[in-house]
């Protein structure tokens, strides 16, 4: 079944197919259609929608529901995402699976409702307190908003971690065709650790507190090992990259600008390709290194350069210090989107053409 839907609605569809039983959320532009869809569809399937009093409440309701062993989610945008950071840290600290969709708007502060990727650091590096990370996926189409929401639930359950679907205002609002899954996923069994109000789970305790410093350190080491292991599920894609002289690195909606830019430059005979990280955490470092080694590199991004810095860090960690030092960036902020014209000009400049 193919549907022509808003990406934000595709998120709800994906969540329902993934077996998400509860939605907790507070409306915010440009993510509100996710709440609208959830408010209508969750109850029709006998599932739960709760309009929380604030984002702090949303994320803590998720803490309760996830702690009780059910798949749950919320969706928000920048300011609400900031409010949730404490709760996401608690989710990570208690190793609870939950999905947070951030439809990034422009900031800081109230900013505006137009697309940015400026929540990069909190969405990718763990925006709250303590040594934690999230599993972060960056969709770029309505199809991926559906598919990656499903993937986010799978990864959240597999790694017992909060997962973030990191989108932006532009793709949240756009409509595209979405091919819906054939079947709903079975519910995962969390009875080993969840507090489910059943005899078998009576002795289960969901907590993020370790009073003893040594125990807290052991737990932190466990978390860090888990994050290293998560690298096995890193995802990326390349486009026209095999013989490229210049690799454009971009994620989410910017990767689509990168794609058109590469196509435009190829038509002019310039060897330009695209590397797109699909998971921003775990970052597909080895694949980036393979695609970027010995090439010129330019990022396209809708932030102040947080992503470019992460690209540099990953290249350097992969042993490509020279490439890292020469990463160039074209970016826009404030809700402006990098145009293909501008990206083409920047790429030509880097190529000396």
């Amino acid at each position: 079944m193919t549907k022509f839907v808003k990406s934000n609605e595709a998120v709800v569809m994906g969540a329902l197919y993934a077996g998400c039983d509860l939605y907790f959320g507070y409306p915010i532009t440009p993510a509100s259609e996710i709440a609208h869809g959830a408010a209508k569809w969750f109850p029709m399937l006998g599932r739960t929608f709760v309009q929380a009093e604030c984002e702090t409440a949303s994320v803590n309701m998720m803490f309760g529901a996830a702690g009780a062993g059910k798949l749950c989610m919320t969706a928000t945008s920048g300011p609400g995402f900031s409010l949730m950071q404490e709760g996401i840290s608690y989710l990570a600290g208690a190793e609870l699976p939950a999905v947070i969709v951030d439809v990034n708007r422009a900031g800081p502060g109230l900013g505006n409702v137009y697309p940015e990727q400026s929540d990069y650091t909190p969405a990718v590096k763990g925006g709250g307190h303590g040594n934690y990370q999230t599993f972060t996926l960056a969709p770029a189409s309505a199809q991926e908003m559906c598919d990656f929401t499903i993937k986010a639930f799978q990864m959240a359950a597999k790694w017992r971690t909060p997962a973030v679907v990191f989108a932006d205002g532009l793709q949240g609002q756009m409509m595209e065709a979405v091919e819906l899954p054939d079947a709903e996923l079975p519910r995962p069994d969390f009875s080993e650790w969840a507090a489910q109000g059943e005899p078998a789970t009576r002795r289960n305790l969901v907590k993020s507190i370790f009073l003893d410093a040594a125990a807290q350190e052991v737990f932190n080491e466990h978390l860090q090992r888990k994050y290293e292991d998560m690298a096995a599920d890193a995802m990326a894609e390349t486009y026209l990259a095999a013989d490229a002289e210049l690799i454009i690195v971009a994620f989410g909606i910017a990767s689509r600008v990168a794609r058109t830019t590469a196509e435009t430059l190829r038509r002019k005979g310039l060897k330009v390709g695209v590397f797109r990280p699909i998971t921003l955490n775990p970052f597909p470092r080895e694949r980036l290194a393979a695609a970027a080694k010995g090439r010129k590199i330019m990022t396209i991004e809708l932030d102040a350069g947080q992503f470019a810095d992460d690209v540099r860090l990953n290249l350097a960690k992969a042993g490509l210090g020279a490439e890292a030092a020469n990463v160039m960036m074209i970016h826009r902020m404030g809700g402006q989107v990098v145009t293909v014209d501008d990206a083409v000009k920047a790429a030509k400049m880097i190529l000396g053409k």
Binding site: T2, G64, N204, E263
Partner: protein, 482 residues
């Protein structure tokens, strides 16, 4: 032989790795007395298997070491939000949140209050000891006037810090709660009343009746800077003078504040509708959208075409764009629709863009449309300069051409608004524009597909389908005759 001893607690409390049987509470602490009662009631009622306790941050943080049942240890202030999540996720469980003055009275007050207002099905035990215990005896919202704390060293001055917060009385203004009571553990009589109240709280949760709040006045000898007996006296005399004990509400037992019923005046004009139930996602989303387009297929021979539709809200600009997009989908094209949104949309202007392509669509933004449709002057003036060479502009005839399109762009002035009015359907100006798009072969799409898409757009108002089909044909004929 009968032994009266602790029930419902673990035999050992392995705090900090130590194998102790002693709680972390100070000598004479009210929490300890309440903790014992809670465990006893839970066990006596046979509810340990189905109870999920939501533990707070504060002196109550370690109840998970004591109560033999499942626990979720929440963030500071958020026990009521977490308990909302728990009780919604596990409606058959007995969910009990345990909170203190800071957790419930200050940082988490709104979470607790809103949960009560929604009538969440959990019981909230609120320990009021008039200050913050765990953090070192600071002022709480419940601190008494004149009471010395570490942040009111001269006694709480209402002129600077307000008056003590009466949680039960405030919550008692709400419609939804089924039980609200204040008890104390200052002496034997009060402790036994407290036990009855805790039992009632569990009963209400066992029977899934609704939200219940039990406030318990508790002594904190350490931070009162008193010996345990004087602290209990303070709790009984000073605290009760401010916070009178009693059952404010027990709906099933007929204790209902009069004012609550009087306040409730639901409008007869509004009603809650039952939610239609479906069995599966397939059933929910398998419903035809009236278009039933196949998935897109790659066809590099089909060039990309970018559209912009603009006007003011109510002219059907957004649905006109969707119509074109849906028609493209019927031709297995890759298709993308994107609206203006946010405050821009509320200001009255509306625009959307559509990209149609034989290959996957890269950049979603339409900077240089091939086709621009404008239904008012501001949108024409804003976008006409962007149209690509060889492109088409269709503008409503009411718009004065104050600005010429770029060279090589064809301009059509169509009296869409006037025609719709003449046909007696002023809302159909967008259908007139669709007729123009067909008449001038502006979309590169099959006429039949555009018509199918138009009809599908009235899926929710089937009575308008034939009307608009007819209007489409009549308008197209009129335009072709001119």
């Amino acid at each position: 032989m009968k032994t009266i001893e602790q029930k419902g607690m673990y035999q050992k409390f392995p705090r900090s790795g130590k194998d102790t049987r002693v709680t972390h509470y100070c000598a004479g602490c009210g929490h300890g007395i309440v903790n014992k009662l809670v465990a006893e009631c839970c066990a006596e009622m046979g509810l340990q298997d189905q109870t999920i306790f939501v533990d707070p941050v504060g002196c109550g943080v370690f109840t998970y070491y004591y109560w033999d049942a499942a626990h979720i240890s929440a963030a500071h202030g958020r026990a009521s939000a977490a308990a909302t999540g728990v009780s919604r996720a596990r409606p058959d469980a007995v969910t009990i949140a345990y909170q203190g003055d800071g957790d419930l009275g200050a940082i988490g007050f709104n979470n607790a209050f809103q949960a009560a207002s929604r009538g969440e099905k959990f019981g909230c035990i609120f320990i009021n000891n008039s200050l913050y215990g765990m953090t070192g005896g600071q002022m709480a919202p419940t601190t008494l006037e004149g009471e010395k704390t570490t942040t009111t060293p001269f006694g709480r001055d209402p002129a600077l810090t307000g008056h003590p917060l009466h949680v039960c009385e405030v919550f008692n203004q709400l419609q939804a709660p089924v039980y609200i009571a204040r008890v104390s553990v200052a002496d034997t009589k009060r402790i036994m009343q407290c036990k009855q109240a805790i039992k009632r709280l569990f009963e209400i949760q066992r029977d899934h009746k609704g939200y219940a709040l039990l406030e318990i006045l508790a002594p904190c000898p350490t931070n009162f800077r008193m010996d345990p007996l004087k602290a209990a006296e303070f709790c009984k005399n000073e605290m009760e003078a401010e916070f009178p004990l009693g059952t404010f509400r027990d709906v099933d037992k007929g204790v209902t504040p009069e004012a609550i019923g009087a306040q409730h005046q639901a409008s007869a004009a509004l009603e809650v509708k039952s939610v239609p139930q479906v069995a599966s996602c397939a059933e929910l989303f398998g419903v035809s959208d009236g278009v039933d387009a196949p998935p897109a297929e790659d066809d590099p021979s089909v060039p990309e075409r970018r559209f912009k539709f603009a006007g003011y809200g109510g002219q059907g600009i957004l649905s006109l764009g969707i119509c074109v997009a849906e028609a493209a989908r019927l031709e297995k094209r890759h298709t993308l629709w994107f609206p203006s949104y946010g405050p821009e949309q509320r200001g009255g202007s509306a625009s959307c863009s559509v990209v149609v392509s034989g290959t996957p669509i890269g950049s979603p933004t339409v900077e240089h449309p091939d086709v621009l449709v404008c239904m008012n002057q501001p949108s024409y003036e804003r976008f006409v300069g962007d149209v690509k060479k060889g492109g088409i502009v269709i503008v409503d005839a009411s718009v004065p051409i104050t600005k010429q399109p770029p060279e090589g762009v064809k301009l059509y002035q169509v009296p869409a608004i006037q025609m719709a009015e003449d046909f007696g359907v002023p809302k159909a100006a967008n259908t007139m524009m669709l007729a123009a798009l067909r008449a001038f072969k502006a979309t590169g799409l099959d006429d039949a597909h555009l018509e199918t898409a138009l009809c599908a757009s009235f899926k929710k108002k089937p009575q308008l389908v034939e009307k608009n089909r007819d209007l489409l044909h009549r308008a197209e004929a009129a335009l072709l005759n001119n």
